[in-house]
């Protein structure tokens, strides 16, 4: 198992290298002179040159890349054009809120999604199944920002249970986490249902029935773990969806995390911040994929021994 994890980490190195190149080239892909865009059309040449220098655009491109890598190694992610503060510093303060937001919403999504999926699979083609699956399609179709505003309007404005915006206490997590989790819960519910229905067709389920287990025991003791193998994989991949969704949700709730920061940075063309965020998100993806593989190995004994 350890060998397997190590191998996967080694496999990540070339990918990381490609990621740094893409992130580095980001500024160079902007049509026109990025410094000019940042400075604005009326800015004088001196300002433009100063910004060019700040972005490191004044040197040959290969040298720029090595400077960039060198800085990364030192933990220097550049300086925000807007605040003139080191990007890393702000990133540190914004990382944990987003981290917890994704964790809570994933927890919500897994509990609700797997629950509905199991119920639907057990009561297949019943009213509850149809209701659950229709709910899931609605969950996939509902615009998260709209759902966020509705929840905010109801629970914060009308009932006053939660703060409308900001993150002064744990209550600030509740509505954003639910809003963010609904879409993923819907996807997990659909997936869990179909995975379970596939598993229930397997021969070993018939064996379980032949042993005299009741349908609910079959579901929980025989089918669930098998169905969880694909569900875990899919759920892990949904973390990406959550990261994407967090951008929207954080903006809705004025949540001080990485997502709202990214939108601000895009709006103000704060390129070093955008670059740093793309890098961070890519890293998170790679890590999540690694984690999914590891958990997959634990759930499926056949995988573990193949490596």
């Amino acid at each position: 198992m350890l060998k397997f994890i190590l191998k996967r980490i080694l496999q990540m190195i070339p990918i990381l290298f490609v990621v740094t190149i893409v992130v580095f080239l980001f500024v160079h892909m902007i049509p026109g002179n990025p410094a000019r865009i940042v400075a604005g059309a009326d800015a004088d040449q001196a300002t433009v040159e100063m910004i060019e220098k700040k972005l490191g655009l004044d040197k040959p491109i290969v040298e720029q890349y090595f400077v960039y890598i060198g800085n990364l190694a030192k933990g220097d992610l550049g300086t925000s054009l807007k605040t003139n503060e080191p990007v890393l510093q702000e990133m540190k303060s914004r990382f944990m809120p987003t981290f917890w937001l994704t964790v809570w919403s994933m927890l919500f999504a897994v509990i609700v999604g797997v629950g509905i999926g199991i119920l639907s699979a057990m009561k297949r083609n019943s009213f509850w199944d149809y209701l659950g699956m229709f709910g899931a399609v609605v969950g996939i179709s509902i615009p998260s920002f709209w759902l966020g505003l509705l929840l905010m309007q109801w629970f914060s404005v009308k009932l006053g249970w939660f703060p409308t915006t900001g993150l002064d206490s744990w209550q600030g997590y509740v509505l954003p986490s639910i809003t963010l989790g609904v879409g993923v819960a819907a996807i997990i519910a659909r997936f869990t249902r179909s995975a379970l229905i596939d598993v229930l067709k397997e021969d070993y389920i018939r064996t379980g029935r032949a042993k005299g287990f009741s349908e609910s025991k079959i579901m929980i003791r025989q089918a669930l773990k098998n169905a969880m193998v694909p569900v875990v994989t899919m759920t892990g991949l949904q973390f990406g969806f959550l990261l994407g969704g967090s951008v929207v949700i954080e903006t809705v709730f004025g949540f001080p995390g990485l997502g709202s920061w990214l939108i601000d940075a895009v709006a103000t063309r704060d390129y070093p911040v955008i670059q740093a965020e793309i890098l961070l998100f890519s890293l998170e993806f790679l890590l999540i994929n690694l984690l999914v593989d590891v958990i997959y190995g634990f759930l499926n004994p056949q995988i573990r021994y193949d490596d």
């Binding site: 980001f26 229709f134 920002f145 309007q153 404005v157 409308t164 929207v248 809705v252 998100f281 890519s282």
Partner: protein, 293 residues
Amino acid sequence: MTTIQENKVAATQPASPWREFWKKFKRQKLAFASAIFIVLLFIVALIGPWIAPFDYTKADYSQILQGPNDKHWLGTDAFGRDILSRILVGTRTTLLVGLSAVLAGAIIGTILGLLSGYYGKWIDSLIMRFCDVLLAFPGILLAIGIIAILGPGMINVVVAVGIFTIPMFARIVRSNTLVYKNSLYVEATRSLGAANLYIIFRHILPASFSSIIVYFTMRLGTAILTAASLSFLGLGAQPPSPEWGAMLSAGRDYLTTAPYITYFPGLAIMLTVLAFNLLGDGLRDALDPKVKD
């Protein structure tokens, strides 16, 4: 497009394919209702400005922030503009953005998938690696990244959403191509000396049509949702535009005093996306059970 598809269906399923499809599709009541709703949406998109009860741009400061009433069925916004009229007119923007983005992505993705599957070797690896990279990122982040490069605006939203639609189509068409490439039928055509391009467009592409149509419908819902999200974030359509996401964004400031401003555009987005998703599910069950969500 219809004629090509008819040819295809006739080639693979000789027993009255349309009736077969119709029989299966009619059973899916939700999908059927969705199809009707979508047809209505397209009609509204075409004639919206003429059926709107008010001028969607005209501010009326005597009528600001009115709740739903006899005159303004869905109320008015902060400028006294009629929300119903703005939603009706905005239908066109919504559908146009979704359609053009998915169409562009589908065409490019289909071509890449055909090339990848038919020619294999390094072309295949190159295209598939490219798709892997694109798919590694969640769609909306990719779109935000692209907009960060290109700048905000509706056209750039179309480009961004179109780009993240490419890899999905490329993969589906590739896997279909791999199957049909080696079919006896195509082998026979090839042995008769048919050119590669002729085989691709005359035989392999039509064979993938049902998958493409199912997926196209499903992606439309996602594309509309993503485009609305981007507009909501201020990266797409800009405020005076009656785009639904932008309307919602503008309504946020009146959440305490006039929540209905956000109710209806959001409802419009949800129903539209829901209709495309349900139709996609229904088409999948009726046409192509292989495609999974």
